[in-house]
């Protein structure tokens, strides 16, 4: 009976693991195969890897898309880290009744569905397109700004700040540091783990964001990676080997970030809900 139960559990988990991993394996195998082989469900590695990569880099604008995505993701992440940690720190360390009320109002914005504000945002950026084209429709700034400040990350930093020893703030003040100085000189270096976790989540969100860039970016040379893949995926005569190569290249950065910083990621996710 005990053995039967154990066999059942291992079979169940192995199946779940297989289902979870299979699309990845297929993706990795497919970048080495010809388009025909991919459609025929070939599960063995082929010898077409170099050709696929060559076709990808020669016929698809993957380099500009990668560059755009990287610029957007890095700037968004840096802005998010700075603004959200300042706010999370302010709400927790300089706590006051008024600020608690403001904080709770900000949290409500987490319930706002993006689809509900997408049209007004589009019109807002449209209205400044003529006077400030660098911030208008089809600009990288327009992609970054609405996504760089979210209540989630403020909440995230505030929750993690609860574990930050308050006497460090006092100590800093005695050492003659200004309030801002305490933040930059003491808080920031102490909270490295929290920053790392927030950076991973923010980078992944931005790198993978689809709907807002789809709405606001119009010229093909501004396209980000998800827009490019979506485009390739819906083409009428798809070269599957090439599309798979693009997907693998697009997934590599987030997969790498995740594996290198796995511990921070899980710790950070939990820190945000432990409360």
């Amino acid at each position: 009976m005990k053995n039967l139960k154990r066999i059942f559990i291992y079979t169940f988990l192995s199946l779940a693991a297989l289902v979870s991993i299979f699309p990845f394996l297929w993706m990795l195998v497919s970048i080495t195969n010809k388009s025909v082989d991919v459609t025929q469900g070939r599960l063995l590695p082929g010898s077409h890897l170099v050709e696929n990569m060559k076709t990808l880099f020669e016929t698809v604008d993957i380099i500009p898309a990668l560059t755009n995505s990287a610029i957007i993701a890095v700037i968004t992440t840096l802005l998010t880290l700075l603004l959200a940690s300042l706010a999370g720190y302010g709400f927790e360390i300089h706590r006051s009744k008024g600020k608690d009320i403001v904080f709770n109002i900000l949290l409500l914005s987490m319930m706002i569905p993006f689809a509900a504000i997408m049209v007004p945002l589009y019109r807002m950026f449209g209205s400044i397109s003529d006077t400030a084209p660098l911030f208008g429709i089809d600009s990288l700034a327009a992609v970054i700004l609405p996504t760089a400040t979210t209540a989630f990350f403020i909440f995230f930093f505030r929750q993690n700040t609860k574990m930050f020893p308050k006497d460090l703030v006092e100590a800093g003040r005695i050492d003659g540091l200004s309030e801002i100085g305490v933040f930059f000189r003491i808080y920031m270096p102490t909270m490295k783990t929290t920053y790392a976790a927030a950076a991973i989540i923010s980078f992944m969100n931005s790198w993978n964001n689809y709907l807002w860039p789809l709405v606001i970016l119009q010229s093909p040379e501004k396209r980000t990676i998800p827009l490019l893949i979506s485009n390739l995926g819906s083409s009428y005569s798809p070269d599957y080997g090439v599309i798979m190569s693009a997907i693998v290249i697009a997934t590599l950065p987030t997969a790498l970030v995740f594996f290198l910083m796995q511990k921070h990621f899980v710790a950070g996710m939990m820190g945000s809900v432990k409360g």
């Binding site: 559990i9 297929w26 025929q40 300042l86 706002i112 049209v119 007004p120 460090l168 995740f258």
Partner: protein, 315 residues
């Protein structure tokens, strides 16, 4: 998470110095209150501009109608149009189906995985954990495209089912209204189950082991332990994950667009996709699109309150 303690010792100051500080602190109270606002002000302004202000704008837009920029107030016309708009009704029905089937399915699966993987005697725990979490590193667009190919007419799933004799001829999954919905539900579940599992696993580590031992002595079997200890202990985190999953699934867009593009017909279209189509695919009707978008807002609010209520009552 405990890194601050190491820094602490460096900055620990003699008590005599601390005494001075309390004196100075009193005179600086007013200034300190003000300086606190400096830390939060940029975020408060940004969230107001990029979240709250557009919400108000969308509300006003929902009472306006017209093509592109030529909008005028038409009262409740848009809201009445909702009830007789077959595409909207299809979008609402589909989104509800995704929500009602996918969220419970995923949460139950994630709970089962987390309980099984929490057993310290289990072998290959680390491997199973990483394998099940792995789908979370993919972008929504990328995995959607992969699922589209996996479930294609000549895709691997069809070949597998054929070869093992489960079916006698290929199923055109994505061209069939029923199967297309199934594929979308499977896809979302594949992507997000591991994500939710991590939350439960971490919460389980905080559950006192002695409770389970006491239950075992009292003769409770595995199922009783699961329903009477694990579920109640994890209630807050289950509530948290069901609310975030509900909000997420209500807004589903990337998967629909990239797996089925709403088809066949409108049999998989979601509310978010319909809003996008109304604004940017068809002749733009920003007013009506905003009305449809407020339906999601209303649903998010109602469902969140409902889930809080349900979780509260069980106490």
């Amino acid at each position: 998470m405990n890194q601050p303690s190491s820094e602490k010792s460096k900055l620990d100051l003699p008590v005599s110095l601390r005494y001075k500080e309390t004196k100075r602190e009193k005179t600086g109270v007013f200034f300190k209150k003000k300086v606190g606002w400096l830390f939060v002000i940029v975020s408060v302004i940004a969230i107001t501009i990029f979240n709250f202000y557009p919400m108000v704008q969308a509300f006003l837009l929902s009472f306006q109608s017209g093509m592109g920029g030529n909008l005028e107030y038409t009262g409740l016309d848009n809201w009445q149009r909702l009830f007789s708009d077959p595409t909207f009704i299809a979008a609402l029905t589909n989104t509800s189906i995704y929500l009602l089937i996918q969220v419970p399915l995923m949460i139950v699966l994630a709970l089962i995985f987390s309980v099984l993987l929490n057993d310290p005697k289990l072998k290959f725990r680390g491997f199973f954990r990483i394998a099940i979490f792995l789908p979370c590193v993919t972008s929504l667009v990328a995995y959607s495209v992969i699922f589209k190919y996996l479930f294609g007419v000549d895709g691997i799933i069809n070949q597998f089912l054929l070869n093992f004799g489960f079916i006698s001829e290929t199923i055109n999954f994505l061209a069939d209204p029923f199967w297309a919905k199934v594929v979308i539900i499977l896809a979302i579940t594949w992507r997000w189950t591991g994500y939710n599992m991590i939350f439960y696993l971490a919460a389980l580590q905080n559950v006192d082991k002695s409770i389970y031992e006491a239950a075992k002595i009292d003769g409770a079997n595995a199922f009783q332990q699961f329903f009477q200890i694990t579920i109640p202990m994890l209630k807050p985190i289950i509530l948290f994950t069901s609310i975030t999953s509900t909000i997420g699934t209500l807004q589903i867009f990337d998967e629909i667009v990239n797996i089925t593009n709403g088809g066949p017909g409108n049999s998989t279209i979601s509310i978010s996709q319909y809003i996008y189509n109304l604004s940017f695919e068809y002749t733009p009707d920003f007013g009506y699109a905003s009305t449809v978008s407020y339906v999601i807002v209303i649903l998010v609010v109602i469902l969140s309150i409902l889930q809080f209520r349900v979780a509260g009552e069980k106490k």
